[in-house]
Amino acid sequence: MKLHLLDIPDDAEALAEWLEDRLLGPDLGEVIAEFFAIYDAEEDGATLDQVLHGRTSRVLEQGLHDLPPAMLGALLRRPKLLLELQRRALSEGGGVWRRRPIDPRVHEAANRGRRLLDAWLEAPTELNDAPRMAPPRSRPDRPNTGFWRQTLTASLASAACAVLAVFVLEMFLAGDEPRAVSQSPAAAAAGWGWMQDESLSGADTASGHLLQLAGAAEEWFHRRPDTAPAVGRRIGEFRQGCTQLILAEHDPLAEADRAWLRERCRAWAGELDANLSALESGADPQAVLAEADETVTRLIGALRARADGLADSPPAHKS
């Protein structure tokens, strides 16, 4: 574990620069935790403006280098104010804050996110470029999440070509016989999404395997429950699929990709657990469903983006 506080410079000018780098980089949370460990942070209710004695605007434009050492020390002793300073520097700051070089780790994360954003934006739209139709059960306050979900809803609301597209998708996922979007009780009992054994095996390549998982996850949108018990059941079933995915072998994947997949699935599972907890605590089922929609949309995007990155990789050999 790297302790950031061990690197704090003695020199005031260097300290200002060090602190600016922490405010703009990915380590501020760790730095603040270390400050809380070192001493009991001063909880005098002082605001950022009070600690900076009216210099806030200047700091937001010119950075911290002009601050007297005592004022820098006062900031460090109130780590919570560092969070507020960070927010304001990032959202309002000019001049020096915009010109500072980006931390390479942040740059890499931004690049990864850009690939995910590209994949999300390039997800297939409706077949005929017709103006988007409103989702059949739109709710004004319900977040309209996911490019993919809008696309599927618009397709279902249009004519036979959209229904045909759904049947083709179902045939691709099932591999054998076509299924209607509304599953028969027998089909439902056999599982859907990642609970189906065929969703976790059969692909020859790493890329194909991840795309297969993404396709299975898209079955989430085939049912739109509207009661709390139904929403809970749907989320629970998808969550169960996460467990199946975590425990599966994923033969086509290299070890690094298997580790990535399991780690991400644990994170997604955690979000679904939080959704269930919220539902059990009385949250609006449609709001919870919308949040779960966001999670599923993101995980589909992540799987597709990872598959894109592996498109030219040969199948992994299991060690």
Partner: protein, 195 residues
Amino acid sequence: MAAPVESPEIRDEQWAACVARREESPEQRRTAQDALRTLYDRHAPSLLAFLAARVPRDDVEDVHQAIWERVWERLPDSFHTGNFRAWLFQVARNYLIDRSRRRRPELLAAEHEAFLADGRGDDPAELLVERERRDLLRGCLMRLEAPLAEVVRSRLAGEEYGSICRRMKITTPQAHKMLHRAKNLLHACVNKPDR
């Protein structure tokens, strides 16, 4: 006479206006997607830094993506003119409030906002996404000899060496040496193999 240079805020506003007009035509939709990519390239690093201090490390990139999806979806209706960057961070804060509310539905709305860690929560420990780090370091600090711990605490709180030395009745070289030793011991303690 040179043409006036547009401020970054005006350019952001123009890109945002592009995104807002995405439903006008398929071509406009493609332009809007490019505009969103431009806004992303300009603001993603700042937003990532903001999130890294407020969300567990493993969740940062997922949350980041979710926020940009909200930007795409909500921009036509809820951003009209003004400072896009400020609006983006408001979207991010609202997302974090919603996320916090999902995880802690028993809290009142005001407490959720406080958890957003703008420093106004009642319990500073709740702000910490790195609670384990804090506890580990705190434990290691308790194992230091008292004078070493005092030098570390005082110096990292911004106290001048002169003040520390007068109070502890030590010389400046001694203070430097003690701080150096304390840092080495802390580093070794937090990185013990059995942790």
